[in-house]
């Protein structure tokens, strides 16, 4: 089956999730990846949305973080303060899925402004849950489209901590969780170097060249000693993803996620 770069990205992100994960899900790309994982290899994956819905099993992707679908298919729904106090801050979440407008080589994320904070070139939505998701979940996976405006040498604003501006700030700030361990794009997957925490390419998606990755990254991107090809999406993965997107489009009259 032929597939798009966006489908490859969602499938690659979904594969990182397991049946034992308790995953804090953001809207858009993360939501599509998390629900694809649940519909394919990880049916017992636990999904938590910041609207308070615990163990939710939506049949279509929500457009917003608080769609009724999330509540109707949840084991239970708690208040938003309880969600952030007991469930996120309390350390119950194994994986947080994040994206943003900008990411740097250490997985720090900007979702606040491009340009100066007081007189921004572009005013973005802001943190939402991201700032505390980034430090409270055991691990962070990042999923973002790869282009030089998003993969930048220097963030305009650090909304959410990755490994910090030099890659070593987490411990100094008293943060004991692992931080970003996986970055999935529409070109490749990356993992942080064990010594420096700098993200390096570990797999290229089929047909993607290292030159393409370099052109689309705003810093001199490093490649791991051994680069594998990301396994192409299987027919089962593609069918599940397309069915999910079709159901979603019918339900909303628009396409949510990818």
């Amino acid at each position: 089956m032929t597939y798009t770069a966006a489908e490859m990205m969602t499938v690659a992100a979904a594969r990182a999730l397991t049946n034992t994960d308790i995953c804090f899900v953001g809207i858009g790309l993360p939501s599509a990846a998390c629900n694809l994982a649940r519909l394919t290899h990880a049916p017992r994956l636990t999904l938590v949305y910041e609207s308070g819905t615990l163990e939710t099993r939506p049949n279509v992707l929500p457009l917003s973080i608080g769609d009724g679908e999330l509540c109707e298919t949840a084991l239970t729904t708690v208040s938003v303060p309880e969600m952030f106090q007991y469930w996120l801050q309390g350390g119950r979440i194994t994986v947080g899925f994040l994206g943003g407008a900008q990411v740097d080589r250490f997985g720090n994320l900007n979702s606040t402004v491009v340009g100066d904070y007081r007189s921004p070139k572009v005013r973005l939505p802001g943190s939402g849950g991201a700032t505390e998701i980034a430090t409270a979940c055991q691990r962070i996976y990042i999923v973002m489209r790869h282009n030089p405006r998003a993969f930048v040498e220097r963030l305009s604003f650090q909304t959410s901590l990755g490994h910090g501006p030099t890659g070593r700030e987490r411990r100094a700030l008293g943060v004991t969780t692992e931080g970003p361990v996986l970055l999935v794009t529409d070109l490749c997957t990356m993992r942080p170097d064990e010594e420096t925490n700098e993200f390096q390419v570990v797999t290229l998606h089929p047909g993607v060249t290292d030159g393409q990755v370099r052109e689309n990254t705003g810093w001199p991107i490093r490649f791991a000693a051994r680069i594998d090809e990301t396994p192409a999406p299987t027919a089962e993965e593609l069918t599940a993803l397309r069915d999910l997107n079709e159901r979603t489009a019918r339900a909303h009259g628009v396409t949510a996620g990818e």
Binding site: I27, S51, S64, G66, F84, Q85, L88, S127, T131
Partner: protein, 278 residues
């Protein structure tokens, strides 16, 4: 005890220009009818507080109601930007807007602290985030028992909170169901609270359950406003109008189109949702 009022009565009695106002509801039960009544009554200089400003504050900001916004995520969920909010921040139109920006965790903790009568909220947050550098109301405190440095933000204590709920009984007790968000905390944190509801019933049917109920003595006014959360949704009554949220992107991009929409859909609409429930 809550009074049963019409929407115009409730807003004119309890909301004043210059007030700090929280219209809460986390995607669900957003009190649009009440926000539109505030626009119609021409209230200005409001400090608007909401975790997710959503379309309702985009509309109020675009109409010049606000001098300040306290928020933690200012987008159109699943769609993109809030263009009226962006134009106020980026270009000062229709008037400059001061912003106090937080994370969701901070605002959720701040509402809970307000409900608890505490001066501030203490939590583990903002670590490694530049938000603490640009918002002077984000501070820290040392745990006297462990020495751990924790974040502190002032509690939220709005002059008035307004929420929408499914039902109230004739005594003014209110039931909130589904995604309950921060409605309970916002009401208990505020000096006064208005609750708009889908229907008024003889019996909430909650005896013996752990449903989220706001006793009438925590609410200043109850207003019957069926459909008052549209285009957001009311669990058990109507679904979220996702197509309108998508259409808002086009309506709100252009100042003239926005003003025409407000004129046709807010200013020229009588306060139909405000008929008395008594």
């Amino acid at each position: 005890m809550a009074d049963l009022l019409t929407l115009p009565e409730a807003v004119s009695s309890y909301v004043r220009s210059g007030h700090s106002v929280a219209l809460e509801g986390f995607t669900h039960l957003i009190p649009f009818a009440a926000g539109h009544e505030i626009i119609r009554q021409g209230l200005t200089d409001l400090t608007l507080i909401r975790m997710t400003p959503d379309l309702i504050y985009d509309q109020m900001i675009g109409c010049g109601c606000a001098k300040k916004l306290v928020f933690s995520w200012g987008g159109n969920p699943g769609v993109g930007s809030l263009h009226r909010l962006r134009e106020a921040v980026e270009k000062g139109w229709p008037r400059p807007l001061e912003i106090e920006e937080h994370s969701h965790s901070a605002m959720a903790h701040a509402y809970a602290a307000g409900a608890a009568g505490m001066p501030c909220a203490v939590f583990r947050g903002y670590r490694g985030s530049d938000l603490a550098k640009v918002n002077p109301r984000i501070s820290s405190i040392t745990c006297p028992f462990t020495g751990e440095t924790l974040s502190a933000v002032p509690s939220l204590r709005p002059d008035i909170s307004i929420v929408h709920a499914q039902k109230a009984d004739r005594a003014g007790n209110v039931l909130v169901a589904g995604i309950v968000g921060v409605q309970k905390e916002a009401v208990l944190a505020a000096k006064r609270a208005i609750v708009t509801v889908e229907e008024i019933v003889d019996d909430l049917g909650t005896t013996g359950s752990n449903a989220t109920v706001l006793p009438s003595w925590t609410v200043t006014a109850v207003v019957l406003a069926p459909g008052g959360a549209r285009p957001s949704y009311a669990h058990g009554y109507y679904a979220r109008d996702n197509a309108f949220y998508t259409a808002w992107d086009g309506i709100s991009r252009d100042r003239d189109r926005f003003r025409q929409w407000i004129d046709a859909n807010v200013m020229r609409v009588p306060s139909a949702a405000g008929r008395s429930g008594a």
